[in-house]
Each structure stands twice: as structure tokens, then as C-alpha cells.
């Protein structure tokens, strides 16, 4: 299947600051991909490179078979994009901005836009500047979806909005996915992401830490709580399988990935182990683990941070 978009080995620096470091991502039709990461992880930069709004220093990006560097305009006509802070002509009314935007898109745009305006219960004759933030966000979403794009990109569209508006955004995303179209969503609302996404990318400090189907991630990651015989430091024997570790008196908590049964047995029978419990963590716990774990890079000598999570 031809990818809806692809990012291959993209690196972007702002001055000396690395914003995106050797990022590769790919989407197939119908996927709902959540892009998670703390502030400054490189999510928005990656999206802007994909749209051609920023140029990568190296690597390639493609959307619907078009090159992000050279065909930015055509890409933006074909996809839908909801930025975190929508820049709308706020002196226009809800209907006027629809007419204005329809000039850039094929026939049928205005009908779809008007239908969504009704569905979102937006006041057609009100000026954008007099709308609440939630309503402005819905205008932005309606504008991004009215040409039924094959790819909808949302960059933290609902941060700071109330639960009702967030729910409407979720429902719209589900609708897009149900039609076999693709969604890329950068978000902080992890429990919402857990409902709608089928694929999760986690970024931290310009690096992609994991890119997997949510199902696979939840199947492979486990939280182990080990009770030890003494407070002596416990050296986790399989550091390559560990995402994060926390010590707490005679207990240590490890977020691990893809531990084999024999490795589990080794831990259970370890001389320092008194008791071992395992549970399936939520996506939020997995995310926090990735955010607080050690940074591993093959070609770097020392880890950038301590492998400890402060409890």
C-alpha cells in the first residue's frame, strides 16, 4: 500500500538547537496516528516540515506522493490542517470565511462546510472575533474538513478547550477514519488519544522513541514491581529491555518492553527478589515512562540523563 505520508531521516536545526533528529514516520490509509511528546519534543516542527511550511536540513518528506519541499501549496490544498492556534480572518463571519476558503478548493466545499457549521451549531452570521475559543476551533476544523481530505492533520487542536468541544473533535476524527481516510493528531490528551488512535508515535527532545500500533505497544510493555530482600541497589539485569526504573525503599518499579518468559523467570528467581508482580500499564503510564526514562543512543558515550524517575 502506498503511504499517505512519509518522513525519511528528517533532521531540522534551529541555530544550534536540534528540533527534529533523524525522524522517520509513515502512514497507511485509514490509520489514526497520535503524535505524543512533551513541549519542544519536535511534534509541531515535524508537522510543519510535512506540510512544507518549514524546510528540513536533511532527509525527505512526502504527502500523497508529493514532495513537501517543492509541492507545499498543492499538499495544503489536498489535505486538512488544524493548527494549534488557528489564524483566521476574524473580521469575517462564519459563513463568509467558508466562502472565502471555498475559492481554494474544488466544487462542493461550501456545501460540506455549511453542513458542518450546522452540525457544530455555529452561528453563521457572527464574526469570528466574537466567537468563543471553542467555536473558533470548530470553525477551523470545519474549514479543514470541508473538502473531505485524504489526510487530516491536527496539531494540539483542543488544548485548553472544554470537554464538549473535545468530544466533537474526537467524533469528527472517528468519522474521518471510518471513511478510510487518515488522521495525524499531535496531542497532550492521552486518555482521549487512547480511544481514537490505532498507532502511537512518542517523541522526546527531538527524537522518536517509539512508533507502533497501540495494540502492540500495550501487549509488549509491562510494569514490574519487585520487592527486594534488602535496600541494597538492584541492578536490573536486562537494561536493553527497560524503559524506566524507579527505586522506592525495598521495592523497585520497572517499565519494561518485550521481556521474554526466560528473562521473567530470571527476575523471579533472582537472589534479591522476594516478590514480583506485573501489570499492564495504561498508555499514560507508558508515555510517562518514556518521558522519564534514560535516553539511549547507539553512537553516544554517556546517557544524557539519569535513568532514575523521581517518584
Amino acid at each position: 500500500m502506498k503511504p499517505v505520508f512519509s518522513i525519511r531521516n528528517v533532521t531540522k536545526k534551529f541555530g544550534k538547537q536540534i528540533a527534529v533528529d533523524d525522524l522517520s514516520l509513515e502512514a497507511t490509509p485509514g490509520q489514526v496516528i497520535a503524535l505524543l511528546g512533551d513541549n519542544g519534543a519536535g511534534k509541531s516542527t515535524s508537522i510543519k516540515i510535512l506540510l512544507g511550511l518549514l524546510r528540513a536540513d536533511s532527509g525527505d518528506a512526502e504527502v500523497l506522493g508529493m514532495d513537501s519541499r517543492r509541492q507545499s501549496q498543492e499538499i495544503r490544498r489536498r489535505i486538512g490542517y488544524v493548527p494549534d492556534k488557528p489564524a483566521l480572518y476574524d473580521w469575517m463571519t462564519v459563513t463568509e470565511i467558508g466562502w472565502f476558503a471555498s475559492g481554494f478548493y474544488p466544487y462542493g466545499y461550501m456545501e460540506n462546510y455549511a453542513e458542518m457549521v450546522r452540525e457544530f451549531k455555529l452561528p453563521e452570521t457572527q464574526k469570528i472575533k466574537n466567537l468563543s475559543r471553542g467555536m473558533q476551533a470548530k470553525v477551523s476544523l470545519a474549514l479543514a474538513m470541508a473538502h473531505k481530505p485524504e489526510l487530516l492533520i491536527l496539531d494540539e487542536p483542543t488544548s485548553g478547550l472544554d470537554a464538549v468541544v473535545r468530544r466533537e473533535f474526537l467524533e469528527s476524527m472517528v468519522d474521518v477514519a471510518a471513511e478510510g481516510r487518515t488522521v495525524l493528531l499531535a496531542s497532550h490528551q492521552i486518555h482521549e488519544v487512547e480511544r481514537v488512535a490505532d498507532t502511537v508515535a512518542i517523541m522526546r527532545q527531538s527524537e522518536l522513541l517509539t512508533f507502533d500500533r497501540l495494540e502492540v505497544l500495550k501487549n509488549e510493555v509491562r510494569e514490574l514491581v519487585i520487592t527486594h530482600s534488602s535496600e541494597e541497589t538492584f541492578e536490573f539485569p536486562f537494561p536493553e529491555k527497560r524503559i524506566a526504573t524507579r527505586h522506592d525503599g525495598r521495592q523497585s518499579v520497572h517499565l519494561v518492553r518485550d521481556l521474554t518468559p526466560s528473562q521473567m523467570a530470571t527476575l523471579e528467581n533472582h537472589e534479591q527478589t522476594v516478590h514480583l508482580e506485573q501489570r499492564t500499564p495504561s498508555l499514560e503510564e507508558i508515555f510517562v515512562g518514556y518521558m522519564s526514562g534514560e535516553i539511549r543512543k547507539e553512537n553516544e558515550k554517556a546517557p544524557a540523563t539519569e535513568p532514575e524517575i523521581s517518584a
Partner: protein, 132 residues
């Protein structure tokens, strides 16, 4: 029917949908021959990924609870009710077993656990008796 989805409770969402639908059939909220909402309708209603709903429906079909009706969608099968009732029993047994396991792990004696269970059951039947 009404679903309550909690992405955080440790049970996969497709499993929550399938379970709740089975419970609804077992209680008689959904009856044999009734059509269930389409994947698209239900995924929008619950705000969950359509593949998740499709997976729940696939599981329910494999378990003999749902059946395809040509051209119209999925319906509750004729023997769904008895299937779901026995399923409900084994699901509840499973969950009780895990709670009891946890209680034993925490160091409670069997006698103490039995006492708690009896107390809680009594409380439950009292509050049910109080309600109109």
C-alpha cells in the same frame, strides 16, 4: 443500548464493548433478531477508533452472539441469550477470582475474606431493598 467506555481501566476497549454487549443480551436489553448499530455509528457514538468496534463485532461473531444479515448489517443470534448468560457467569467468576487472588496476596485469611464478602453482599441487598 448504553455503553460505558473507560480507556484507563486496564481492559482493552474492544473487550469492554464486547462484554457490555454480552451483558446487555444476557439481561434482555438486546434481543434476538435485533440489529446492532453499524461500526461507523457505534464508533462515532463512543468516540473510539472504528477498527476497535470492528474488532469487538468480529469477536462477538466468532462467539456466536452476532450474525450477518445480508445487506442490512449484524443481528443478535437466536441462541445469543443463553450464550451470553453463561459467558457472563464465567466473566464474573474470572473477575472475582482476580480480586480474591489480590486479597490473598495482601495477606488476608480466607475467613476474613469470606466475612468481607458476606458483609458486602448484605450491604448490597439492603440498599437494593431500600430503593423504590
Amino acid at each position: 443500548m448504553h455503553f460505558l467506555i473507560d480507556a484507563h481501566n486496564g481492559i482493552a476497549i474492544y473487550d469492554q464493548i464486547a462484554r457490555q454487549m454480552k451483558f446487555a443480551v444476557a439481561r434482555g436489553v438486546l434481543r434476538s433478531g435485533e440489529l446492532v448499530p453499524s461500526v461507523r455509528e457505534l464508533s462515532k457514538q463512543l468516540a473510539v477508533n472504528p477498527n476497535t468496534v470492528a474488532r469487538a463485532y468480529r469477536d462477538l461473531q466468532n462467539d456466536g452472539v452476532l450474525n450477518t444479515v445480508r445487506g442490512t448489517g449484524l443481528e443478535i443470534t437466536a441462541d445469543a441469550k443463553s450464550l451470553c448468560q453463561s459467558d457472563r457467569e464465567s466473566l464474573i467468576r474470572e473477575r472475582l477470582a482476580s480480586v480474591l487472588h489480590e486479597a490473598r496476596q495482601s495477606g488476608l485469611s480466607a475467613t476474613a475474606i469470606k466475612q468481607y464478602v458476606n458483609d458486602l453482599l448484605q450491604q448490597l441487598s439492603q440498599s437494593e431493598g431500600d430503593s423504590p
